[in-house]
């Protein structure tokens, strides 16, 4: 039994055709995104299954999954809030907001709320510096821009309802 659904396996196989023969490894990052979208994170077994689909060694998958910041190799909450912490966003108040988020969610950056709903992370510049402070919410990677405390409160409420 695979833990990846047949749907995801099918999609990964489709993506392989974008690259020349013998270069299926190119599909690795897109495949990891698909696996993570389905699983919520990347358990070792999911990475091993991706390796098998792309006919590469599991270590080649781990190597890549640990290099890129978007991949969660530890379990995360149902939603991952990633706030930009880079200069331009800090010019418009990101630092204070991050502190507020920690207080509001009663966790520190890097942690997950007790109910497993939200993981809070910081990230580097998201290419939305003109509309900062900005954050993105995984697993769908929706950007939310010009964040205020009030907007953040509302966002958390929405996730609570959506995540039920």
């Amino acid at each position: 039994m695979t833990i990846l659904s047949s749907n995801t396996i099918q999609e990964i196989n489709n993506i392989k055709s974008r690259y020349p023969e013998g270069r299926e490894k190119s599909a690795l990052i897109p495949a990891l995104h698909l696996a993570q979208a389905e699983q919520g994170w990347l358990p070792v077994q999911a990475m091993n299954e991706v390796a098998e689909l792309l006919k590469i060694q599991p270590i080649e998958v781990y190597e890549v999954a640990t290099f890129y910041t978007m991949f969660h190799i530890k379990k995360v909450g149902k939603y991952v809030i990633e706030v930009c912490r880079t200069g331009p966003c800090c010019n418009v108040g990101a630092e204070e907001l991050i502190q507020y988020m920690e207080e509001k969610l009663k966790i520190k950056v890097g942690e997950t709320t007790e109910d497993g709903l939200i993981t809070l992370k910081t990230v580097e510049c998201l290419a939305a510096c003109g509309t900062g402070p900005v954050l993105q919410i995984g697993p769908d990677y929706i950007y939310q821009e010009q964040i205020t405390k009030e907007k953040f409160d509302q966002l958390v409420e929405d996730l609570k309802i959506k995540g039920r």
């Binding site: 792309l54 890549v64 800090c90 418009v92 630092e95 502190q99 290419a127 510096c129």
Partner: protein, 444 residues
């Protein structure tokens, strides 16, 4: 007023759709290009004087002509849509609002280079942009602009979007190619350059989103027409993403040669500094370029007005100039702390260093650490020269330019704002105190 090439139709409702894009002249350059030989297309781009919009400003036509056409290996065009340089958000804006501009550019450019398969490498965080591009590509296939025998030209092209996984370094072109091959984003040693040994060891051109999107206009109107816009060797227009302490942050298309003063203060662009504050400094081309204090960004050391062009912004070298870079224009008002901002940027480069070269891996870590201690009131006077020394020891000693990108902001901030560093060290309470409360939130 100012000439518009990329954003001419930005306010047309539905310009993101193929139908509306075509009804405003979209995809016309295909027919024109197919009536020319690929080398003639390259020649037009050469004539235009177009320079790479990703940051380095290398002449695009020349880059194309370096492509090794003697081998019988396939050739590739890869679009760099990794856009991660702090302060830069123009490519995202363009792809999100006018996705077909890039697709049309990819088709014409791929034809010039003889590529049969091309990729757009988009940073993974921009899933929303990826979805938009994929839908637009589907429409382009349906309309016969992509796929087999495009518009009866005998030329065929497949175009794919490839997501990244979150890593600034993948904007460096050889790291990007590694990433596209399914590897960690470790930059390659050069030479060989991608023009000879690129994707899968085949001849490859990597170009920025904006660069490629400029090509259709050049083919439609001719290289000479493009070269007549702008100033000197800074031909054409440039997208500038403006942010920080300004009244009107956003993406502006400017004709190169506009004065910096007009760009900052005119209501057509940044609209000045909010709340009547004074301008303190500008980082003009993304976080990697040297920071300049207000007087030097508005006027060169010779007292000439500073212009938004490759040459004018770099006038004076690194002593009194900076670079146009990616066009990420970050404005600081008098309340902003140069030391804190520099510490923030140093943390960024440390975080994003791929770790292959010791000067970059260790040096960025040192700079972050030393800046952190200055910012938090534990600095020593000798730290300032220590920073300068570390920056010097990174520059020119690494596989890729991320080393320089990390060193230049440090060297320039100290060059122009040394007194502010000294003040932090002598008198930590006066400046750092207001930041100290949020220290814990930012250590991670």
């Amino acid at each position: 007023m100012s000439k518009k090439i990329l954003l001419q139709h930005i306010n047309v409702p539905g310009i993101n759709t193929l139908e509306t894009y075509v009804s405003h002249g979209g995809y016309q350059s295909l027919k024109k290009a197919f009536s020319m030989t690929p080398d003639e297309v390259t020649e037009e781009v050469k004539k235009s004087g177009l320079r790479g919009r990703g940051g380095a400003g290398f002449p695009t036509g020349m880059k194309w002509s370096f492509l090794d056409k003697k081998t019988d290996k396939p050739r590739y065009l890869v679009c760099n849509a990794d856009e991660s340089e702090p302060g830069t958000f123009k490519d995202r804006y363009l792809m999100q609002n006018i996705p077909h501009a890039l697709i049309e550019g990819m088709i014409v450019s791929s034809y010039a280079l003889g590529a049969k398969t091309s990729y757009i490498y988009v940073r993974g965080e921009m899933m929303h942009v990826i979805r938009i591009l994929e839908a637009a590509i589907k429409d382009a296939y349906r309309a016969g602009y992509l796929g087999n025998n495009i518009l009866g030209s005998n030329y065929s092209l497949d175009l794919f979007v490839h997501p990244g996984g979150g890593a600034y370094i993948c904007g460096e072109e050889t790291a990007l190619l590694e990433s596209l091959e399914g590897n960690r984003g470790n930059p390659r040693n050069k030479p060989p350059f991608p023009a000879v040994w690129g994707l899968y060891g085949c001849p490859t051109v990597v170009n920025n989103v904006e660069t490629i999107s400029d090509v259709p206009w050049i083919i439609n109107n001719g290289g000479d027409a493009y070269a007549s816009i702008g100033i000197g060797k800074s031909t054409g227009t440039k997208l500038i993403s403006a942010c920080g302490n300004i009244n009107r942050p956003g993406v502006y298309e400017i004709e190169l040669g506009l004065s910096v003063e007009e760009f900052i203060y005119s209501d057509q662009y940044c609209g000045g500094i909010p709340n009547g504050k004074k301008l303190k400094a500008v980082v003009a081309g993304g976080s990697s370029v040297p920071i300049l204090p207000a007087d030097l960004i508005l006027k060169t050391a010779n007292g000439d007005p500073r212009l938004m062009s490759y040459e004018s912004l770099s006038d004076g070298g690194f002593v009194s100039g900076t670079m146009l870079g990616s066009g990420g224009f970050i404005v600081y008002d008098e309340d902003q702390c140069i030391v804190r901002n520099l510490w923030n940027f140093s943390r960024f480069y440390h975080h994003e260093s791929c770790g292959q070269c010791s000067p970059c891996r260790e040096g960025t870590g040192w700079m972050e650490k030393v800046l952190h201690r200055i910012e938090n009131g534990h600095g020593k006077m000798s730290d300032i020269d220590l920073l300068v020394d570390v920056a010097k020891k990174i520059e020119g000693k690494t596989i890729c330019p991320l080393g320089e990108a990390a060193a230049w902001p440090v060297a320039s901030a100290i060059r122009h704002f040394r007194a502010e560093f000294e003040e932090h060290i002598k008198n930590p309470d006066s400046c750092c105190k207001k930041h100290l409360h949020s220290e814990h939130a930012l250590i991670h």
